[in-house]
Each structure stands twice: as structure tokens, then as C-alpha cells.
Amino acid sequence: MGRRPCTDEASKLTPLMFQILLALSASERHGYAIMQEIEERTDGEFSIGAGSLYRSIKLLVNAGLITEVRPETQVHSQRRYYRLTPNGRQRAAAEARVFHSMVTWARDAHLFEL
């Protein structure tokens, strides 16, 4: 139960990590905005705990998939902004392709018609 060590590559992306990468694909955001973006995009299907969110962010930063940036204007001093690294973008794209093929498969299996 949760005993898996944190690896450098975050070799397996959890759904939440993937969503974070997606949320950062358009622009850099801070944690609160990431949460908002995910909730909006998924019509509130996902409730993300603050603890889980920052744990995932920490793992993604450690894996070099996202990086912290200093924004030009600081409204809330305590908010940190994150940006996708080129590595992260590649990783997200690869993940998306896997998902895409799975979704195509599901469509072929007529799952969407249920």
C-alpha cells in the first residue's frame, strides 16, 4: 500500500499526474489554477485533495517533467507557478497517444453506444 519508492522518472504516471501535465500544457499555472482547470475540464468528476495535488506536483518536479517558474507579476507571494518542461511535454504526448489508442479501441468495441 503506497510502498512504492519515488523514482526519478515517475515511471508510471497516475491519472492525477497526467491531468496536471495536461493542465499545464497550455500555460504555466499555480496549484490553485491547476485544481480549477482539472475540475472544470472534467465537469467536477474529479475531486482532488490538496495533499494529493502537491504530492504529485512534488513527484513531477523531482522527475523533471515540470519545473517551477518565477512569474513576472506576483499577486500572491505564496503562490508558485509551474511549467511543463520539454521532457514533460513529450511524456504527456506519449501518454495521450496511449490513451488515444485505448479510446479508439473502446469505440471499436461499441462501448460509447451503451
Binding site: 503506497g2 510502498r3 485544481m35 485533495g49 490538496a50 495535488l53 506536483i57
Partner: protein, 904 residues
Amino acid sequence: MKLMDKLLHWLLRLFPKDFRNRHEEEVVDLLTSKSKEIRERRGRMAVIFFWTFHVFDLVWSAVQERQEERWSMTQRHRSGDHLVTTLVREISYALRGFQRQPMFTAVAILTLALGIGATTAIFSVVNGVLLKPLRLDRSDELVAVSHTAPGLGFDEIPASRATYLIFRDESRVFEDIGLWQAIRTAVTGMDQPEQVQAVRVTDGIFPLLRIRAAIGRRFVPDDVAPEAAPTVILGNGYWRRRFGGDRNVLGRSLRIDGVESEIIGVMPEGFRFLQHDPAIYLPFQIDRSTVALTDFSYQAIARLRPGVGLSEALDDAARMLPLAPKRFSRGLTADMLEDARFGTIVRPLKDVLIGDIGSVLWVLLGAVGLVLFIACANVGNLFLVRAETRQREIAIRSAIGAARSRIAVQSLVESTLFGILGGALGLGVAYVGLRLLLRIGPGELPRLSEITIDPTVLLFCFVISTLAGLLFGLFPVMHHGRLDVAVALRGGERGASDAPQRHRLRNLLAAFEVAVSLILLIGSGLMIRSFQALRNIEPGFERPGEVFVVSLTLTSSEIRDPERAAQMVEQVLDRVTRLPGVTSATSASSVPMGPTGGGGYAIELEDFPTRSGQLPPVHWIKFVAADYFATMESPVLAGRSFTRDDIRERKPVVVVAENFARKYWGEVEDAVGKRIRPSSSEPWREIIGVVGNVHDNGVARNAPATVYIPFVLADFDGDGIFVQRRMTYAIRTTRPSPMTLLPEVRQVVWSLNSNLPLANAQTLDEILARSMARTSFALVMLGIATVVAVALGAVGTYGVISYVVARRTREIGVRMALGAQQQDVRQLVLLQGGFVALVGVAIGLPAAAGLTRLMTAMLFDVKSVDPLTYGVAAAGIAAVSLLACYVPARRATRVSPIVALREE
């Protein structure tokens, strides 16, 4: 919010340091921003769910973070053993313990959540109703003003226009005083005539409450002048409902009781007028030239000047009161005031609003507090059992150098964490419970809208959760304190298990649970007896479920001529009686236990003349139509009841209640033929009949000595023909569902005049049920608490006895191998359970005798020390305890000697 921030920072200490350094501020910022947003968009309840979810998520994430940290760094020595790091370490240790024993954790936390949730729910009611200050500016300065006249038999009577004017003109202690009255008015001229609740207020009321209109203005002195143009202020809810929240409503007119009134303002959203939420506010117009020192029928509220106390206010009122008969020559004279021992009552407004529900709520809070105790005892028991099984682990820890204090801290940290997690879940239980409670709660529960889970309640929940955790955490600490490391390490578990003193603490806990369950059972029993006593009282009418009632006011603007109004009442009754399924119909100024109508009048009796200058005795007069007693099925004890001719021909007749007849003439028969009159300007009226008493003020109150007078009088109070225009119609029907009469009755009324609104349609038994609402509310709530307590108590006893049996398996095996029979073994176990129950009952009975004295105010016709209730409850709890022991006792008889001994 400050508190929440602190709690959050505290919670984040669960995380490893580097995580905290990086993300602590961010997490706090995110959660507070998000919580603010949710609160604005989805309300407080959503916020509670939000926090519950995130707290769990944070704890869970922290556990995972810690595990990863541990994994990645190999036994790096920890620096500093100060309190915080110790706590963090212990918490993470405890959290891992939870993961290892999910069943244990779930049972303990659920039990706690139940207890804490119930306590928090009732506390939020106590907080909202009793503790929170009123939602009014500096509400501690607000007082309600009324009078007392013990010489006339009135403990308390409302204020009058005369006393209001005197107090307003002369007072040195009141910043201002205002008069108000809740009434029902008819609003016509819109799509359907409608009866709405209204409050008449003098111009001082809103300023002294410090309430401004949201739109437009408040009433000014010109609005309450005798000949002022009619004006009206809308309640916010009514404005939204009928005018769609149109801000251009000012200047438009509303037809109220047939009078076109100009809308001058709208009250702010959420404003309730004390216990009322009226649709409209009307100016209370007072013509000084007609004011007499009578009509004590209005409510007065005042604001004390800053720093003035209640006793100063009373002194000042005593100074002002004698001025009233001098200034207002009509009505009571100075001598009458003296005879009546007339006085003034000044009470905090909050007390008046709350009424007598306070005692019920405190008792309920006490009851759920006891349930929480039982829950704690149960969880404490679980901890004890587990501590026993963990003796080896603890012994090893202390053998390799862990300090005793460290082990104690660890145990307490763990139990406190249980308490807090139980509390977090309990908050959810409280939320659901509160919803349920408000649904079944009596409609009269005051300040209902102010009951919420607010920061005070959150704090309360947090505090009791922590305390509960510490409380049951103490049991294992006491236990470990006596732990003999050497014995435990030797694997002494088995050897030591037979010693009876080792079970003493657990047995005591079980006995304690039995005692507390017994107290609650007795409390519920007393409520059941009170409820039965109330139900057994003959209310004075029969089969109320068959009587449909509805009120109808013949406004003088619609039907100006009193003769015509009187005819119309008869016409309505005639036509309603002809409806299918109707057996009889009548109308009266009020129905029993319904909203009051009629009034108290000074009744002169021919046989007992009063000295001049002395006030005749005051009695309640009820104005009725023919067939009133037949429809209510109240028995006529002597003489006869009113006929239609009595009423149509305005005969000077009257019917009195049994209590009235007995009070003056002793025998009911003797009252018939005697003459009385409600005022000296009236002709004498002959008593033609005596009817059975009716508990008009609710079953728990004595039946008043009522005087029944026809609803139309030839000459009442010297004002010419009088018709009681505001009447409640009562219709007895054989229909299975009396409410189906409403559309047909409405049709009958509207066929005569389509501008007359009907209101308050219900059946008489609904009114009767409401008069018992407080008792049944207390009964239901105590009942729920008791069922939970008895169930938890039985589980506790069961757990203890089961455990003891399990630990004594070997001993039982030996006994059986040596020839003990099954019934001997069963007896052995039952005897132990019986002893626990006996001790519990022995503690519980005297405790109950002491505690139930606190609920005397809620009881009716039963003493708080009622032998029958106590006996039945004690027998019941003993039976439940023995039943709880029976299962383990049977298990004990199945012990196979061979298996038991092989374990050696």
C-alpha cells in the same frame, strides 16, 4: 477563519519537513481560497464536506509522504527530541497502526463518530437557539415589556396602547419603546385573494431594532398618525414572491383588507421580525384621543439606554405606571390598578423569544453527552483489549529502552488521533442528524433559521473529540502503568490471563455503560409516561381527526354591513353542511388550541355584584355560531346549547363551561337560568346551558372557565350591532380524508364573494398534535439517544464478556475435563455478566434519581422518581445485559476440553 488556518498549519506538521518547506504556504493558500469560493457559491454545508474531504486527503498524503521518506533515507539519526518531532513521530506511528488494523480502526472511529456526531448536532441546536446572541445590533439592550396583574389572576398580560404611550413619553431608562402585533390580513386585487401574515409596528420599532429598509424607507411618525395615508412595507420574501424582486415597487399600491396602501419600503433579505417572518409590515396607527387604559393585547419591545440594568428599568416602570390612569381617563382607574396589584415585567428579548424550550434542549444535550460517554467507554474497552494483545510489543519496546512516558505519550497520541478522526466523521453525522432533527423538530422551535454548524460548533466538536480521545486513551495508560515487563516478556500472557483483578477495569467500564444506559432508559420512560398522561386527558372534544378547520375573515371593506356579514356566515355554514360527507358545520372566534381569537372580558354576574370601582372577574369569551358543541362533540352537561333561532333573533343568551359554573354555583345545574353580562353597557344574558370543559390552551394546561356568546350581538359594548368577523370554520365529515373539503369550501365561499381569502386549512387533530409537539419532540429525541445508548451498552457488555470467555478458554477446558457440566459453565459466565449488570443498576438508579430531577419541567403528571418507570427500566437493562452475555456463555459451553488443553 483564523482558527481554520491554525488547524491547517497544525495538520500539515504531519508531513515531512522538506515537503512542508516547499508546499505548506501553497496548500494553506489553496485551501482557504477554495473554501472561500465554495462558501460563496454553495453554502456552508458544502464547506464542511470540503474540509472533511481535504483533511482526510492531507492525512492520507502525509502517511504516504512519510513512508517514502523513510524508504529513501536509511535510519538517518533524527536530531532533537523536542515535543513537536516526538508528536509527529508518534502520529505517523499511530497512522501506520491504523493501516495495519483496518477493522479495529473502523469500529472505533465509527463508534466515536456516532457519539460525537449526535452531541455536536444537539449542541448546534443549543448554540443556535440558546447561546448565540440575537442577530440584532447590541441585542443585550433589547427587552420585552409586559404587565402582570396577580389581583385579577393574570401572571402576565401583554402591553397596551396606554402604557406604551406613557412609557414612551416619560421613560428615563428606555432609549425608545415600540408596540407591535402579529395579525392576518387579506391581500386582494391581485390574481387570487390571499391571506398573509402581517405585523403592525409603531414608528419606533425598526429604529430601536437598528434595522433599515433594503429599499425605500421605514415608518416615520407621520405614517402612524391617526389619519395618515395608508402605507405598507414589504417583507423581503413576499417582495420576491409577489413582485419578482422588482426594485421599482416603491410607490405602487397594495390592497390590504380592502384599503389601497402605498408601498414605501422593502425589508432586507434574511430579516425576521423576532419569531415571525411576515409578508408585510403595517403602520400601527394610534389615536391618542381614543386611547383607554384597557386593551392589554399588544407586544412591546424596548431598547434600554446603554448601561441601564433590568432592575433600574423596573423601578422606572413602577414610577410611570401610576401616571397612566391620570392621563387616560377611560378604562382602569388608579384604585383598580391597586386592586389588581398591577405591575410591569421587563425581560431580555432573547428569553422571551426562546420561551421554555431551553430546559428540553439542555436535557437533550445531557442525554447525547451520556451517549458519547458510552461510546468512549466502548472504544476504551477496545483499546484495553488491544493493549493486552500488544503487551509483548510494548514490553519489548520498554526493554530496549523506550521510556514509559514515551509509551504513554504514544498511546495518548493514538487515541487522540482516533478522537479527532472520529470527530471529523462525526461532523458528517451531525450534519445529517441536524437535517433530520430540523425536519421532525417542533414548528415552534424558536430561532430555527439560526441553527447552523458555525465556528463555535466546529470548535466544540474539536474540543469534545480531543477530550474523548484523551479520556479513553487513559485506560490503556493506566493499564501499561502496571505492566510487569519481565512477566510479559516471558510470554506471561497466558499464565496471567486467569487472574480476576486483571479484568476489573474492563468490568467496571461495562458496569458504567449499563448504568448510563439505565439513566437514559429511565429518562425516556418518564417521557413516555408523560406523553401517555397527556394523551389520556380528555381534551373536551371527540374524534378530532374528522374535523376540518379553515379560517375566513369577512373584511369590513368587502362586506361593510354587519347584518349582511352575519347572514353570510349562516349562508356559508348552510351550504357547507350540504356538501357530501359533511355531518355538521360551525364557526367560532377560535377552535380549541388553535390561534387565539375572542378575548378576555370582565364578566359581571348578577348573583355576585362587584363594588363600584372594583374590576369584575375576567374570563375568556369565545364567539360561536350554532352547532358549535355538536360539531366539536363537547357534551352539554345541563340546559341546552345555542339554536339557530337564538342567534338569528339575537336572544340575550349565553353558554358557560363547566369550570365557570362550578366556580360560582358549585353545581352545573344551578348555573342554568342565572344571568351574566360581559360589560355594564350590555343587557343581562341568561345562562341557557353548561358544556364540558375544553382544554383550550393545550392539553397540558388547565381548561379555562370559558363563556360562549353568539358571534353576532345586538348591542355589544355600546357600539351597536357586533359581528365577529375573523372566524375559524370547523366542519365534521365522514370523509376518510377531510382535507379534500378545501376546494369545495373555497368554492362555496367564492360563490358568495370572490374576494374573501381562506387560510390555515388543517384538521383539528393536527392542532392537537402540535399542542403536544414539545413533549413528543423531547420523547423522540430522548428515545433515539436511548436506543443508541442501550445498543452501544449491550455491545460493550457483550465485548467484555466475550473477551473474558476467550481468555478463560483454557480454564473452562480444564473445568470441563474435570467433569463440569455445560450448565455449570453457562452459569459461570452468566454470573459474571449478571454481576456487571447488578453493579451497573446499583450505580444507575441513584444517579438517575438525581439527574432526572433536571427534567421535571418536561414531565407531566409523573414524578421524576417514578417507581414503575425505574423498575421496568432496571429490569429491561438487566435483561439486555444478560442477553448480551448469553451468546458468549453458549460459546463457552462449546469449548472442547481437548482443543483447549492442546493449546498449552
